[in-house]
């Protein structure tokens, strides 16, 4: 499955004090695609964000989690279906290189990144590997209208 057949969308909810929304992975290919489930080290590290501001790129990654049952769990994303990952960048689960509120302002944009490296586990489980990026979404105080996936 090529990257062009998987699409990543970022939907920001408006009117909230901190960046909150969902990341949508859409399978527009003609075959089912297996992707990592969250709740384990493989799935939790796949999703990250980038804040774009005045030419700067600040990464936001999921804080290192505590794992008790940590196995490479995956699921199948069927043809023409989508999967949503809700997020709240202020819930304490995310770490930024710089506090977002110190850089965010007008024209600041947020990009979702879904990056699955080719690991032995990914190969063994037939999980999709590669990198997807959403289109940038404005992250200013005006609260942009959520961008709906096609």
């Amino acid at each position: 499955v090529s990257n062009t057949l998987l699409r990543l969308y970022l939907v920001l909810f408006s009117g909230l004090p901190r960046p909150t929304g969902v990341v949508v992975l859409s399978n527009t290919s003609s075959t089912d695609v297996r992707v990592w489930q969250t709740g384990n080290q493989w799935g939790d590290t796949a999703l990250s964000f980038e804040v774009l501001h005045n030419g700067l790129v600040l990464r936001i990654v999921r804080r290192e989690q505590e794992y008790t049952r940590n196995v490479p769990s995956s699921f199948v994303l069927p043809v023409k279906s989508r999967h949503e990952w809700p997020f709240d960048l202020g819930d304490g689960d995310w770490d930024a290189e710089t506090p977002i509120d110190q850089v965010a302002g007008r024209h600041t944009q947020l990009v979702a990144v879904y990056d699955v490296p080719t690991t032995p586990e990914a190969l063994n489980h037939g999980v999709w590997t590669g990198q997807l990026r959403s289109e940038p979404v404005l992250l200013d105080e005006s609260g942009p209208s959520p961008r709906k996936p096609d």
Partner: protein
């Protein structure tokens, strides 16, 4: 107040009637209590027993009482004649025929008497040999309520075991600590036992507890998959943040992982429902400081018999 009644008629046929009622009652009562039992009863329901009449024709319109005491009342004065083979209009003969069909379609599903003596084997052979002729018997008290008759049992052949055991080595990369171990168990199959040994009745569970140092550092349980009220020094069934747990063959907690991540096998191939081998692995990770610990333990439970514990592993320790 229940008044004892004279027992009239073929006791085998009456037990068959009572058993049919018990089976229905047990099915209903046990359905919500045990997943394994649910599976068995569901399987039973896969057969269309509705087409097997167990009531005399003139009682078909009456409500069916799903009780051991709900056998159709026969007039006390009637001595039931020996049924003629093939005379299916005779109510008792119909019951016997129904019971034969029940026994046939139920296959390996074990059935037992109300006292659990397993006397059904005396009443019905595997090929449905009819019961002895009916007769008149002296009064006797009604049979006690029947216990649930398990259709199988879990038999643990080996394990459950951890590899390695004892204290698990921890690797530390920049304060990020991890440990790895595997889990294994095998289960026996036997049809000559009563109830038969079925690997499907065996399920593995992993339990975890953490110590006070960990709880204090974390400010609560390890992650959001556990209830926020979960505390140190107490065993909880292990899970991830999606509430997926080890060893569940089916259901909402089930999350089979190939490659010996968390799966049941038969002959090396995935057999989540009936697999006689359990194979799992875990890779706990933590940023906890020294002094914080995890303990893990495996148990095998019998899902066909109220989730009774059948075997357990030694406890392993991770010193973070």
């Amino acid at each position: 107040v229940h008044m004892p009644q004279r027992r009239i008629g073929n006791p085998t046929a009456l037990r068959a009637l009572a058993h049919r009622g018990e089976a229905a009652g047990a099915d209903h009562d046990q359905k919500a209590s045990t997943e394994g039992m649910t599976r068995e009863t569901t399987r039973c329901r896969g057969f269309d027993f509705s087409k097997i009449s167990i009531h005399p024709p003139n009682q078909l319109s009456k409500p069916h009482l799903p009780s051991a005491l709900a056998a159709p009342a026969l007039p006390r004065s009637i001595v039931q004649p020996r049924p003629t083979v093939g005379a299916i209009d005779n109510p008792l003969e119909r019951h016997v025929e129904a019971r034969k069909q029940f026994a046939t379609v139920a296959g390996a599903m074990a059935t037992r008497n109300a006292d659990g003596s397993g006397a059904d084997e005396e009443e019905f052979t595997n090929n449905g040999t009819p019961a002895p002729a009916p007769g008149v018997f002296p009064p006797s008290p009604p049979p006690p309520p029947a216990p649930f008759a398990p259709s199988g049992q879990c038999y643990v052949e080996t394990g459950p075991t951890y590899t390695p055991s004892g204290t698990i080595p921890v690797t530390n990369v920049g304060g990020r600590k991890s440990a790895s171990f595997s889990m294994a168990a095998t289960f026996g199959t036997a049809f000559v036992t009563d109830p038969p040994r079925k690997p499907a009745c065996c399920e593995v569970r992993q339990y975890i507890k953490w110590n006070e140092a960990y709880h204090t550092w974390r400010g609560g349980p390890p992650h959001s998959g556990f209830p926020s009220s979960a505390t140190y020094g107490t065993w909880y069934e292990d899970r991830d943040t999606s509430d997926k747990r080890y060893g569940h063959r089916s259901g909402t907690h089930s999350d089979p992982i190939a490659g010996c991540g968390d799966e049941y096998l038969t002959g090396g191939s995935r057999d989540q429902t009936n697999g006689d081998t359990y194979c799992g692995s875990d890779n706990p990770k933590s940023s906890a400081p020294a002094g914080a610990t995890y303990n893990f333990q495996l148990k095998v439970i019998d899902t066909c018999n109220n989730n009774g514990e059948k075997a357990s592993s030694s406890i392993i320790t991770i010193n973070w």
